[in-house]
Each structure stands twice: as structure tokens, then as C-alpha cells.
Point group: C2
DNA sequence: AGGTCGATTGTAAACGCTTACAAATTTGGC
DNA sequence: GCCAAATTTGTAAGCGTTTACAATCGACCT
């Protein structure tokens, strides 16, 4: 392989220029304690003048950090994940970290394989950001053993920093909006449950729906709970089922915007529409929701990704400290959701 | 930082178990020539038994490969890029490479900075996959100097492997579809030009449009060429302009599906619709196009990403060979586009 | 047989950094 | 001013590979 022709600037060059020893330069540049301000300044200046950046390979090999983190997502194409990934990548980049993208691509097999060789991953990255990953017991253990710093988005009851929204509350607010509009016959296009206790988005949203009904003295009719996954097609099929039942609900709460899109499509295919024949509300505020006039509970996706990334970096920075693991108990942050009224809902 | 508790399996362990020298094991495992089949077998067996995988850090430091590649994209959230990235990531993962995601996030500043320190990147990855990146002279030179293997999607006249579609041809086919439907007054919602000669998507599509008209003895009316960028909002604004001009064209060719979405939205806002008041065709076959019933020229996005990734890996594999750079002249592959008729177009 | 050449294998020196540990320097209490 | 303790700095030994280069081993010619 052809090599770059600029010979590498080594730490030794910085040491020479600054008149310090290699060791002192190394410590100074990594903000370690026990370095005089004077030395630190000289080292920094010399490094800057030479455009020095530590070789991540050498650094890693010698026991330092790799300067990169991995983002593990179920898929990279879905709207939610694409946005979260990009926001996190930006934070990582600004923090000087490379972002290794690992998409599970909804293919069975890649997650087990990945967690089966976590030690290998741990060797290449300093930490991982998990996006809505359903983890089994073994996997949690593997993660703990790997020595990786971890943070996540949209996960539940995990022993590391997490950022998410209050799914139950968001669903409750959505359903309440429908209720306050005067609707009484509500259906829910529910997401499917994962089984793993770390990701409870779907069940929480369903619970919020129930809560809202209960607030209004209503109970959930099992016939009005339709499994729709979280895809457009799933939403469409679910709505078709509702239409064909001949007993159209007055309003529909879709577990996420994509499901709502599918429902909207099914409606149109039957010559119906929202809000004329039925009110529809979703959760997400997907990029296209505005376009389709979908009323929805907006959740700050980019913020979730960025925030979680920040938390991970913080951990990483504190990882030099003595008290493991990474100083401080895990935190869980719930970001605000907000009702965005458009014209897929109306009073009755 | 807490460390994994399994002590690393080193090449030395493999050497000991197989009764070979470290050096021979290293060569055997990397498929280098001048190793007897017998030795190769022993090395492989021992490595398998021990679950040995070379440390990428050590490997890199010693002059080997990093085992990772970077994908550089203008953004990771747009439909096209998200899909291409995921498809490429899959290929890379299957090939044993880590994928480092670098999004330019449409922020001025990050591209110059990135190319200003390509040497740094070159140290962390073996190759880069460029997605529709508009490159200046200096940047091309920096890339050549970096020693990185390169491949790209949707680029033009570049000295490395590229995969794309024939933009002029796709546009021509789209416009031709409109013409064959009997439309004569055509407008184009054109993408904006980048200025850099490496990305010519917009201008090629515009040229294709002109070609189609010419085929039918028509010429392009400058008033019917509206700059719309490639965003939904841009498409909407462009269509508004057309509507407000009071002189509605008979059919509209949108430079990409997202532009078409915006146009559709503008129509709806004015109480108009396609194909009743005007026929609309796009290029892409965006995930939502089916939903919106948009007729469009479908392009294989995932295939482009995957194919380009494959080409990059091939180069990487051949990079051990003597004749630089990476054996063989650059190739350019144009993938097929296909008309997908839905109901945003009709005859007149 | 002796010598040569090619293929295979081994030895040992990088690669650029981190980090025990030792050395040098400063600080501060009397 | 002097000594112990605390702080700052330097020395040198790895980290796990790759790769010149040297060594070994047969095979093949003459």
C-alpha cells in the first residue's frame, strides 16, 4: 500500500521541541495530574506547532484509549435511528472521537455474534452507545465484563447512563388529546413487544394509553388493541383490519408516526380520510408528519442521541479516575415530548 | 478503566501451539505467499482453537492494516445516504471491517478540516468510501497523497472506482414518460449545482431533461426551470412559484423525490392535486413515494452503497500487490434505473 | 558430488505510545 | 538552613504486530 509521504510527527518530536521528556509530554497532553502548568503549556504549544496528534494505534497498544466509540443500532435507515446516529456522531466528532457504526440490520445472528466477541470490540473502541437494543442477560453480563463504557438511548433499567422519553406519559398525553376532543371509542395501533426487559417502548406506550382511558373512566376494549409493529406496512394492515371490522373507532392512537402513515394510507385506499372519518394521532414527529398533516407527540430525537453521546464522553473522560466503574452511579434522563397539533385530529 | 479479564490471545500463543515461528504464523494467517500449505494449515488450526484474532492496534502500528474503513457522507439522515450507508456497512462488516461514519452534516468547515488532516484519518482507516462528496482540487490531491484506498458513490470523473446511475438517462426517461403521456408544457424542479466537478447529479439530470425535450422537437423554456435544491421545502417553494405564476405547466419533473414531495404539498395547500391539475414525476423511489403514489424513476440505492463497498474491499485486498496504486485502473459502474408508474402522472 | 537458486522459515528490530519506577526538584515545617 | 515529604520529571520496559534480513532446506544443474 502506498504510504503518505509526510513522515509522522511523533511524540518524540514534540518532546524535542519543547525540551521535555517524552513521558512528560504524554502526560501533559492527556491532562494527567502531576504536571506543572509550565510544562503543560510548553507541551501544548509544541504539539500545536507541529500539528501533533497521538497515533491511536500506538496509544491503544500501550494501554491508552482508542479514541473511538461504537454506536450500535437496530438499523441505520429508520428515521429515528438515522437522526440519533447523526446527532451522536456530531458530538463524538467534536469530542475528538471516531464513530464506528454497527447496524444490527434486524438480522438475527449479528447481535449474538457481536456480543459473543465483545472483547474484540472492546479492543477497538473505548465505549459503546446503544440505541434501543434489546439485551439478554448474557449480553448484559458480557457488556459488564468487556470493560467498555456504555450509554444508551431509549433503554430501561440498565446500569449505565440512559436518555429517553417517558413513553407512558407521551402515550397518555396523546390519548388524552383524543379524549379531550370528545372521542370515546379509541383504538390503539400498538407496537410489538420485544421480550427483553431493556426495551419497553411498546408496552409503556400501551400502558400510557390505558392510563389515559382510565383517567376518563374508560377501559380498554381488547378488540381495539391491534398489533401493528412499528412499520408503515404494519400500520396499514392494522388499519385495514379496523376498517374491515365494520366497526370504525372514533379515533386512533398509533404507537409511532410510521404506523400512523400506514393507517392514513389504508384510509385513503378505502376512500376514507382523517380527520373526516376518524382522528389519528402518532408519536415521533417524523420528518414527513408535517407534510402529511399528522397530529403527533413530538419527541426530540437528535437531542436524545446528542445527550447520550455527551454522557458517554463524560464517562470516558472520568475513566482515568480511581473509583470504578467510571465514577458515579448511572443516570437516567427523560426528555420532554410535546403535542404538535396538525389536522389529522378534530373534535366530534 | 476496568479491563476485560480474559487475557489476550497473542500471536505468540498461536506460534507456540502450532510449533511455528511468530513470523510464519503472521504470514500464514494473512494469506501471504511463501508459506507452505502445511504450515498454513497448522497456523490456521491453532488460531481457530485459540480463538485468536490479531490486535488491530498492534497490527496497525507495525504497518499492517487497521481493519476499518470510513464512509464520508454529506449527511447521514437523508433517505439516500442512510440507505447507502447501511448497505455499505453490511458489506464492510461481512468483510471483517469496522465502519467509521463521518458525516459532513452540511456544515461548512467540517469538510475542509477533514481533508486538512487526511493523514490523520489515513492512520486510523485503510480506505474511504465517498458518497456524493463535492471535492476541490486540493482535496483530490490530499486524497491521492494520503495513501488511502478510495471508492465512491455518485461521483464523476474520479481516479478511483465509482458506482452510480446514469443521471442524464434517468432524467431523460422521466421526462420522456411525461412527453409520451402527451404533455408538452414541462417544468423542471432542478437541483442546485455544486460547482465541484466531482458531483454533477443536478446538472446531468437537467441535461437529460433537455435531451428528452429535444427528442420531441421541444426546447426548454427558461421560465420552466426552477431551482429547488433537493429538499422537501425547496420543492414546495418551487411549486408555489409555479402556481403563483398563474401559468401552470402541464407536467413537472422533480429532480428528486423529496423535491416532488414538496411540490405535492404545495399543490395540496392550494387545493390542487396531482395528477388532476398537473402530472408529477420524480427520481429516487423514496420510501415514502409509494405511500404518496408518486410516479418516479427508481434507483437502486442500497445496491450502489453495497457495490461501492465491495469494490473498495477488493482494492484493499489487492493492496498487498506490487504495482500501485492498488492494481488496475479505476472502474465506473452505472446501475439501472427503472420507471415506477404510480398515480401522480396521467395522460392529457 | 559440488554449487546455485528458489522456496520456506526464523531472528530481531522497529512501530509510537503508556506507565512503573527511579531520579531530581521543590515545598514546608522546625 | 536542614531534612522529610510531596511534587515534578526522566528512564526504560513493554504493548502485539509486521517485516527486513539472515538462515535453512531441498531441488536441480553441471
Amino acid at each position: 500500500m502506498p504510504q503518505a509521504n509526510t513522515p509522522r510527527v511523533r511524540i518524540q518530536d514534540v518532546a524535542a521541541l519543547s525540551g521535555l521528556s517524552i513521558c512528560t509530554v504524554s502526560r501533559a497532553l492527556r491532562q494527567l495530574p502531576n504536571v506543572s502548568e509550565h510544562a503543560r503549556g510548553r507541551a501544548r504549544d509544541a504539539a500545536a506547532k507541529l500539528g501533533y496528534k497521538a497515533s491511536s494505534a500506538a496509544s491503544r497498544l500501550a494501554g491508552g484509549s482508542t479514541g473511538s466509540v461504537a454506536i450500535i443500532a437496530p438499523t441505520a435507515t429508520a428515521w429515528f435511528f438515522a437522526r440519533a446516529v447523526e446527532a451522536a456522531e456530531e458530538v463524538f466528532a467534536d469530542g475528538g472521537y471516531d464513530t464506528v457504526l454497527i447496524s444490527l440490520r434486524n438480522r438475527s445472528g449479528v447481535q449474538p455474534k457481536l456480543f459473543g466477541d465483545l472483547a474484540g470490540l472492546a479492543q477497538r473502541v473505548d465505549g459503546v452507545l446503544l440505541l434501543n437494543i434489546a439485551l439478554g442477560e448474557t449480553e448484559m453480563a458480557a457488556l459488564a465484563e468487556s470493560g467498555l463504557a456504555v450509554a444508551s438511548v431509549g433503554m430501561h433499567g440498565v446500569p449505565w447512563d440512559n436518555v429517553g422519553i417517558d413513553n407512558a406519559e407521551a402515550a397518555r398525553a396523546a390519548a388524552t388529546h383524543l379524549l379531550e376532543l370528545g372521542h370515546r371509542d379509541l383504538a390503539i395501533l400498538a407496537g410489538s413487544e420485544t421480550g427483553a426487559p431493556t426495551v419497553v417502548t411498546a408496552s409503556e406506550r400501551r400502558r400510557g394509553f390505558e392510563l389515559a382511558l382510565a383517567d376518563h373512566g374508560l377501559t380498554v376494549d381488547p378488540d381495539r388493541v391491534i398489533d401493528a409493529g412499528s412499520s408503515i406496512e404494519g400500520g396499514r394492515l392494522a388499519m385495514v383490519k379496523l376498517i374491515e371490522s365494520g366497526r370504525m373507532p372514533s379515533a386512533v392512537f398509533a404507537g409511532c408516526d410510521e404506523t400512523a402513515f400506514g393507517a392514513l394510507m389504508a384510509l385513503r385506499e378505502s376512500g376514507l380520510s382523517a380527520p373526516e372519518n376518524v382522528s389519528i394521532i402518532g408519536i415521533d414527529d417524523h420528518q414527513m408528519s408535517w407534510f402529511l398533516g399528522l397530529t403527533t407527540m413530538a419527541q426530540p430525537v437528535a437531542d436524545q442521541g446528542a445527550f447520550a453521546a455527551t454522557l458517554l464522553i463524560d464517562r470516558l473522560h472520568r475513566s482515568g479516575l480511581p473509583n470504578p466503574p467510571f465514577a458515579g452511579p448511572p443516570s437516567n434522563h427523560l426528555l420532554e415530548t410535546k403535542l404538535v397539533e396538525r389536522n389529522s385530529t378534530r373534535g366530534r
